[in-house]
Symmetry: C2
Subunit: 271 residues, 2 copies
């Protein structure tokens, strides 16, 4: 089958995007397209250039005999800011107000159009080199955590709020939930984490950080090290919190009965 | 900014894949690349041809003034079968056996490498034209349902097993869970589904179908029509079930203490 240069480039982009952060060797492309490695090197330069020019993500080329290419999902500061500001505008709509400080968000945080980008923002601002798992707790944060795991190409783990027979032996801890104001338990399958793993925690809404603190403690039981903590929306940042060194995308500030939703300004110091 | 033909094709593929099932007009591409529509039509033919040749998914071109192009994720019968057979081999490993007929699956069904493809299989075998929502029930089916929603470019809804304050007013029903053998309740936010919607149900494991039957009944409360039901793994198909017209990817047959995992042979009659 004869494949033209333009066609080869289209196919290479498809393959790269299907498996973010996965290294494709020149040999693999050479076998697939029956094309010389030198020609493929030129194709890859084309892909790399346009991804840089239009800020479509990073293309990393690895030199040497075992060399190759991988696609790293990445939102530039401009693109991330535009997206998060649009999210803030949507979250601010008065009809989202439920009882207390709860907001109706599931039309946003379950929709793949949004979660895909939320995942790319987390993958752009959190350092996930040498990370073994993305860990979340059920339920509302699962879609965004899953898309974060997909962008990073790392397996996801979901902490359960009860012990389930379909997970085998589990490890569980108790924690004080800021949402319900009561003692709850969380559990994770014993064999789901390999010893000495590094993990990134993701959660959707953080108030005082009790849930994330519980997640940190559960990770200790697995001898896993938490290398980053990503929060979609943090309520009243700066107040007394149970955890530190977390990265929030959006801040919800509640003061004197007024609510403001805005992008975390410190988010982009790394971008 | 001068963009070469090869670069333009790489960028077009990236844009298409970022938003499956979303129509991009020639005008949009023309504005983005400052290129004549006639030239872009040629570029699109290139993309369409190679996606067909290598079975990378479908590229649909829409003719006319409002015409354009969209990418439809699609796994060919060969690719889907290869993937599902590999999954069956992994699921069959004896160390996955838990108590009863439960299997440890979370390393597979939470991993984006697998869920992305499971989502593409569902999008290849279920007709989702004119579907408004993909609906699942917490927890283990969420990642695969979310990837199905992502492939179809349709919002996801997650039915909760308890009533949550962060979802506002809810509608709930009781159902007989085959997993626990007890009466349980499921609920969904009142305003999450627009009236007269069409929905696709997705669940991870089906025994007698009690959970899916409950989901169907909950949908009736919303005046929503269930147009398809996708199940990742069905236990003992052919036995008495509470639902019909569902589509299972994988069958688990348990007989005389023996367990067999195999791909549903009827799956590919449509492919």
């Amino acid at each position: 089958m004869k494949i033209k240069k333009t066609e080869r480039i289209a196919a290479i982009v498809k393959m790269l995007l299907d498996n973010p952060n996965n290294i494709y060797t020149l040999g693999y492309f050479s076998d697939t397209f029956h094309t010389a490695k030198s020609t493929l090197s030129e194709d890859i330069v084309v892909v790399k250039n346009i991804f840089e020019k239009l800020k479509l993500g990073k293309i990393l080329t690895i030199a040497g005999a075992a060399g190759g290419i991988k696609y790293i999902p990445y939102l530039s500061k401009d693109k991330a800011l535009t997206f998060l500001e649009e999210l803030c505008r949507q979250i601010e709509l008065p009809e989202r107000q439920l009882v207390g400080d709860f907001l109706y968000l599931i039309d946003l945080i379950y929709d793949p159009v949004y979660t895909r980008k939320i995942g790319e923002v987390f993958a752009s601002v959190l350092d996930y080199s040498r990370t073994d798992y993305v860990v979340t707790i059920e339920t509302k944060g699962i879609p965004m955590a899953h898309m974060t795991a997909a962008a990073m190409n790392i397996p996801l783990l979901i902490i359960r709020k009860n012990i389930k027979v379909s997970e085998g032996p589990t490890v569980s801890i108790n924690y004080l939930s800021g949402t319900s104001g009561s003692i709850q338990s969380m559990s994770l399958s014993r064999k789901s984490i390999k010893p000495n793993s590094k993990v990134i925690l993701i959660d959707d809404v953080m108030r005082r950080g009790g849930t994330l603190k519980g997640m940190e403690e559960l990770m200790k039981e697995f001898n896993a090290r938490v290398v980053a903590k990503g929060v979609f929306m943090e309520v009243n940042p700066g107040e007394d919190k149970e955890i530190k060194d977390h990265t929030s995308l959006i801040h919800m500030i509640q003061k004197d009965g007024q609510r403001t939703i805005r992008v975390n300004e410190d988010l982009f110091v790394h971008l």
